[in-house]
């Protein structure tokens, strides 16, 4: 009796609160969440910097000023300079590009792999399901950083050798740019670490949605499988997926920094926050600004993604859809 009364009450609230579209409702709930909005601002700014940062930097990220090595923050160098006299602010702005591209690309790759594997597992079941779950278990059982280090150590040399061979064969300058090797390895390692999470999420979503009553009702109305997938299963699986992607973007950026910190990430000259933190750490007693700049930036972005993820989670929470 009590539960009936409670559901009846909350239903009235929802009916009155929303006379519009579910997505609009979700956006309204997201905007009403202060932390999420605070989180969105740095994220938008980060993406803006990733695109336009290089045009805004006061100095080139490689420009070395030997007269001002290890300079403290000043009006000329707002965040000071590093050992080689490079402007820290410029390097942080460039680093946004590394962080965003690594985040986007690795998340996209792992999302696609996870979507395919997860849907296959969830929909086909049986042996396919068993194989996919086994693969995710194996991947997840290995520590992420160890996996990245192993990949870097085992694949980097052969890949570079292959690039050199290709250069000698084609005389195409592209194959001389070894930073591509770094990027491919970092993207690959990140995707490998992250796809099992997406695959499991999607598998779980499909398994749970497939047994929902509205799917049974749609089948009872004679709807074909393709239509049920596109109209019923996928839209209802989107909410948790959006939340996971938001968290995953932030997670990938942090992981990339961790790789760089350990020396298996993107190698110089492309600036990476993790690498800058790692370099700055050596001198943090005498020149704390080298550590503070990238570390604070990293912290802001991490917290922002966490807040946005929480906000999205609340906004898209299926509990409130009464379905």
């Amino acid at each position: 009796m009590t539960t009936q009364e409670v559901t009846a009450g909350s239903e009235v609230d929802i009916v009155e609160a929303s006379r519009t579209n579910l997505w609009k409702d979700a956006v309204a709930r997201l905007v009403a969440n202060k932390l999420a909005v605070i989180g969105i601002i740095p994220i938008v700014l980060l993406f803006f910097l990733a695109v336009f940062g290089p045009y805004l930097t006061p100095y080139d990220f490689l420009a070395q000023d030997f007269t001002a090595r290890l300079a403290a923050p000043s009006s000329e160098h707002w965040l000071g300079t590093d050992e080689l006299g490079r402007d820290v602010l410029s390097r942080i702005l460039y680093g946004a590009r590394t962080a965003v591209s690594v985040g986007l690309v690795s998340t996209a790759i792992s999302l696609i792999v996870g979507l395919v594997m997860g849907s296959l597992a969830g929909y086909l079941g049986g042996r396919v399901d068993f194989m996919v779950v086994w693969l995710t278990d194996v991947t997840r059982s290995m520590p992420a950083l160890l996996l990245a280090i192993v990949i870097n150590l085992t694949l980097k040399t052969p890949l570079e050798a292959w690039m050199e061979e290709m250069y000698l064969a084609t005389k195409n300058g592209f194959f001389r740019q070894t930073m591509w090797v770094d990027l491919v390895l970092v993207f690959g390692a990140l995707a490998l670490i992250q796809w099992p999470g997406y695959a499991r999420l999607i598998r779980g979503q499909i398994l749970s949605i497939r047994s929902r009553n509205y799917v049974l009702a749609a089948r009872a109305l004679g709807m074909p499988t393709g239509r049920i997938l596109t109209r019923y299963v996928i839209p209802n699986a989107m909410g948790p997926l959006i939340v996971a992607v938001s968290a995953g973007l932030g997670g990938a950026m942090v992981l990339e920094s961790a790789f760089s910190f350990l020396g298996v990430g993107v190698q110089l000259p492309i600036p990476s926050w993790g690498k800058m933190i790692s370099d700055g750490l050596r001198m943090y007693r005498t020149h704390p600004h080298l550590l503070a700049g990238p570390a604070v930036m990293m912290a802001i972005i991490t917290v922002s993604f966490a807040w946005l993820g929480d906000g999205l989670n609340d906004a898209l929470n299926p509990r409130q859809w009464g379905g």
């Binding site: 009846a8 929802i14 006379r19 079941g125 709807m223 109209r231 209802n236 859809w321």
Partner: protein, 339 residues
């Protein structure tokens, strides 16, 4: 009256960790055009699985082992999936127990309602929406056109069930299978839904299979009733004959468990002790004997078939019991009189 749906020897079982659970065990019944058949039994007696088997909407662990489901002479169990989809929604409409979860929360009511019309009837989106608005008004949701743009969470439970009914009736099916459509609703809404289905039935002539565990609902809507227990039909009779002259101990027990308006207050309702068994093999005993007050030795060694009862007021009255429960009652009365 001609036979619309003829089910013969339907057998469905579930694969479980150790072997099988036998959910539907050789169920046979028929449904005439325009007839309303009530199916009663407690939870887990196989009534829902039986109905899902008819249009093969079973979960993956279940398989139909045997039987025929002839809809106007066409065996649905042999039909390929493409034609089966035309039957689902086209000729057989279904409504389910929980209207709160039976609608896709992501699609507005209009789009959802027009899908079967577009798919089965080849209507354009515009025609389908116009028809959906009419259907909403038909099931008693006023201002249908405006409500088409709304989402399921903006509808109450009773209204959602009305939408489900409108959807299942939209392609003018020959049979409407209603699987406990009122169980999740409160009592006043239940009565409204029963009335609505009756009204639609009388207007369109659709045959209805109404699954429920509520005998009082069946009394109000059904022409004929089958009583199921442990995957068997244990009694089948026209609704009046069943209520006046129940012949299976289980039916008697179900009726005893009904609260009556005139009954003395303060007394406990009679119940049937225990719960129905999950059959792990086909029994060579009456599956009800463990809970049956009339059980005799034969019940433990042989499973009775569904056979016409003695001195029936109607030829269609059949029961599966070794004991003529009227005689037992008479005997005990006689004993009481002589002492």
């Amino acid at each position: 009256m001609s036979v619309l749906l003829d089910v013969q020897g339907l057998q469905t079982r579930f694969r479980v960790r150790k072997g099988y659970v036998y959910a539907v065990n050789g169920v046979s019944f028929s449904l005439e055009e325009g007839e309303t058949l009530g199916v009663v039994g407690e939870s887990g007696c196989g009534k829902s699985v039986t109905m899902l088997s008819l249009v093969r909407l079973l979960p993956p662990a279940a398989s139909i082992e045997n039987g025929q489901v002839l809809l106007r002479g066409e065996d649905l169990l042999q039909l390929d999936l493409r034609h089966l989809r035309d039957v689902r929604g086209g000729q057989v409409g279904m409504i389910f127990q929980d209207p709160m979860t039976s609608l896709n929360p992501f699609i507005n009511i209009g789009t959802q309602m027009s899908e079967p019309l577009i798919y089965h009837r080849g209507m354009s989106k515009k025609e389908a929406l116009a028809r959906s608005a009419e259907l909403l008004e038909m099931v008693g949701i006023p201002d249908g056109e405006a409500r088409l743009r709304e989402y399921p969470h903006q509808f109450s439970g009773g209204m959602r069930q009305r939408v489900m009914i409108a959807m299942s009736m939209s392609c003018e099916p020959a049979v409407l299978i209603a699987d406990e459509p009122t169980t999740a609703l409160d009592v006043t809404i239940q009565a409204q839904i029963v009335e609505l289905v009756k009204e639609l039935r009388d207007r369109s002539g659709v045959a209805v299979i109404w699954i429920t565990h509520d005998l009082s609902v069946v009394a109000g809507i059904a022409d004929r009733v089958i009583v199921m227990y442990a995957g068997y039909i244990v009694e089948e009779a026209p609704v009046d004959a069943l209520f006046e002259d129940p012949r299976h101990p289980y039916t008697v027990g179900l009726m005893g468990a009904l609260p009556s308006l005139e009954g003395e207050t303060g007394t406990r309702l009679t119940t049937i002790g225990g719960s129905p068994p999950d059959l792990e093999e086909l029994p060579d005993y009456c599956p009800f004997h463990t809970r049956c007050p009339y059980a005799i030795d034969r019940c433990r060694t042989e499973n009775p078939m569904l056979e016409p009862v003695a001195d029936a007021s109607d030829r269609g009255h059949r029961a599966a019991c070794w004991v003529d429960i009227r005689e037992v009652a008479v005997q005990s009365n006689g004993a009481g009189a002589s002492s």
